[in-house]
């Protein structure tokens, strides 16, 4: 999952509406470190156990993650980074050139809303660690609404602290996040190694057999949960950061890359955070089930404390905190773009308040897999629009960056492509024809076709109007 982006924040301000100059470009080491750090988040401790909840087998989870993460890395490398290193603009500014200011505002609202809900999930994750110390009543796997005053108060306190700190000292905490990242990686590794020993494994050579028979046993999922196969895991791993790679949000990151192939640096995040950390978190959950098969709750605090003690609890709190901080900040930035005269301080506090309320609803964090897939589905179409606009339009005689060249604030072509794709995808998901984890792949092609066709019509009409004016 997404967390701090140490490269972006200071520099976005400098090059918000101009290409990144050569002297500001960065080497691959910066990207390796950034991706390794930013994909170790508190939410990893939810995702790993949820795979076990969905009854995934060892073969499916391990090969699904290997392939899915590879596809994610290739998406960053061959879709995001090549465009980013050619245009060297932020996503928002480039979208403005294609879609016009008004449509980008709608995108901002969608993006800000998703970031706010994700921050809510991170606040909830950290509260589960606080709950161990304070003995708070905590939500169960099937809870959707707040189920106790203690939980609501706990989330309120944690959310208020996170929000105030994000509003006052975003940059200080971003620095702290960079320092904590290597430590968190090692603690996640410790979760896995210690967890395996506690489960009874005595030699690393036994891992495969142990994984199949003790940790990811396959079979039926828990009641009320869908059965996960290789394809579910693969698509989830590929698309959980879809908004960033195929959705092109990381144009803002890779515009600083000296070379397009620095997209490969994303492998550090995928194989540490979305492979090792998810597997480790799954092992923690398997240990909980071994101790008490009736305890199916997915609560990162107790899971971590059971295996690594206070260091584990600190990891849950810090992982949630350091990742909620930039998430709240980014949500605030998205909303601030809509109301440019509002202060960042107030917007961040307000966003934090909404995230805190969202965090009180366990449904968001307990259904995190679906939420992350939904995020990809909603924001992915704009990535398809950028891809088609940049690579295909010049080859078929259509104008790229139409809003800028035509001087319009609203380009209907991407709006139609985006809106229709989201509606069609939602209908397929809600009627049960396609699961949410798979719908974004056909959705990407649908957006591409719709955007091309709609742009052809819009640009032909605009050309006719221009010709009529000339005559």
């Amino acid at each position: 999952m997404e967390s701090q982006k140490k490269l972006v924040e200071p520099t976005v301000v400098e090059y918000e509406r101009e290409p990144v100059p050569e002297q500001a470009r960065l080497g691959i080491k910066s990207f390796l470190g950034q991706y390794a750090g930013e994909h170790i988040a508190g939410t990893e401790l939810m995702i790993g156990p949820l795979f076990v909840v969905h009854g995934v087998s060892a073969k499916d989870v391990i090969f699904g993650l290997l392939v899915g993460n590879l596809l994610a890395v290739l998406s960053w490398t061959f879709m995001t980074a090549p465009i980013a290193t050619r245009i060297r603009l932020t996503l928002y500014y480039y979208l403005e050139k294609i879609c016009g200011r008004s449509l980008v505002t709608i995108y901002d609202i969608a993006n800000g809303a998703m970031f706010t809900l994700l921050a809510g999930a991170m606040i909830a994750v950290s509260t589960t660690a606080l709950g161990v110390w304070l003995n708070l009543p905590m939500p169960g796997l099937y809870d959707i609404y707040p189920n106790s005053i203690g939980w609501v108060l706990g989330v309120a306190v944690v959310g208020a602290l996170f929000s105030i700190i994000a509003a006052y000292g975003y940059k200080s905490l971003a620095r702290f996040a960079n320092i904590a990242a290597p430590w968190m990686i090692l603690i996640f590794l410790a979760f896995g190694i210690i967890g395996l020993r506690l489960l009874g494994m005595k030699s690393f050579g036994d891992f495969w057999q142990f994984a199949q028979t003790v940790v990811w046993k396959g079979g039926d999922p828990l009641p009320g949960q869908s059965k996960f196969t290789f394809w579910h895991v693969m698509f989830f791993a590929w698309f959980c950061n879809m908004a960033w790679h195929i959705g092109m949000a990381d144009l803002s990151v890779f515009r600083y890359a000296k070379k397009w192939w620095y997209g490969l640096a994303s492998a550090s995040g995928m194989y540490i955070g979305h492979f090792m950390a998810w597997l480790s978190a799954g092992i923690l959950y398997a240990y909980q089930l071994k101790q008490d098969p009736s305890n199916i709750d997915v609560l990162p605090g107790p899971l971590a404390e059971r295996v690594c003690g206070i260091a584990g609890l600190l990891c849950v709190i810090i992982a949630g905190w350091t990742t909620a901080n930039p998430t709240l900040y980014r949500a605030g930035l998205a909303f601030q773009a809509i109301f440019p005269k509002s202060s960042r301080f107030k917007v961040t506090l307000l966003t934090g308040a909404i995230a805190t309320v969202a965090g009180m609803f366990p449904g968001i964090v307990m259904r995190l897999l679906d939420f992350v897939a939904l995020w990809g589905m909603i924001l992915m179409p704009m990535g398809a629009v950028i891809f088609i606009d940049f690579w295909i339009f010049p080859k078929i005689g259509l104008r790229g960056c139409f809003a800028e060249s035509a001087g319009v604030r609203f380009n209907p072509a991407p709006a139609i492509a985006w809106g229709v794709t989201v509606i069609v995808s939602s209908v397929f998901v809600l009627t049960g024809k396609i699961e949410i984890f798979f719908v974004s792949l056909p959705g990407w092609f649908l957006t591409g076709l719709l955007y091309t066709f709609a742009s052809y019509v819009v640009q032909r009409n605009a050309n006719k109007l221009t010709a009529a004016k000339v005559l």
């Binding site: 960079n178 320092i179 290597p182 090692l186 590794l189 210690i194 206070i310």
Partner: protein, 59 residues
């Protein structure tokens, strides 16, 4: 001073890496491994901030 802090951080990393492996091989008890992880955590956070961020500020 910087080199001392870096050595402390390196020791913390070695501790965080080796404690789980020692436990896995039954060379540390459960309580000891948790204590060692906590000590190494503290060592990391009291040493790393004083050298890790300097490089970024220069950049």
């Amino acid at each position: 001073m910087r080199i001392v802090l870096q050595i402390v951080s390196a020791l913390a990393v070695v501790g965080l890496l080796s404690a789980p492996i020692l436990f896995f091989n039954d060379l540390l008890t459960r309580d000891r491994v948790n204590t060692l992880l906590l000590i190494c955590t503290l060592l990391w956070f009291i040493s790393a901030p004083f050298w890790m961020e300097r490089k970024e500020n220069n950049g």
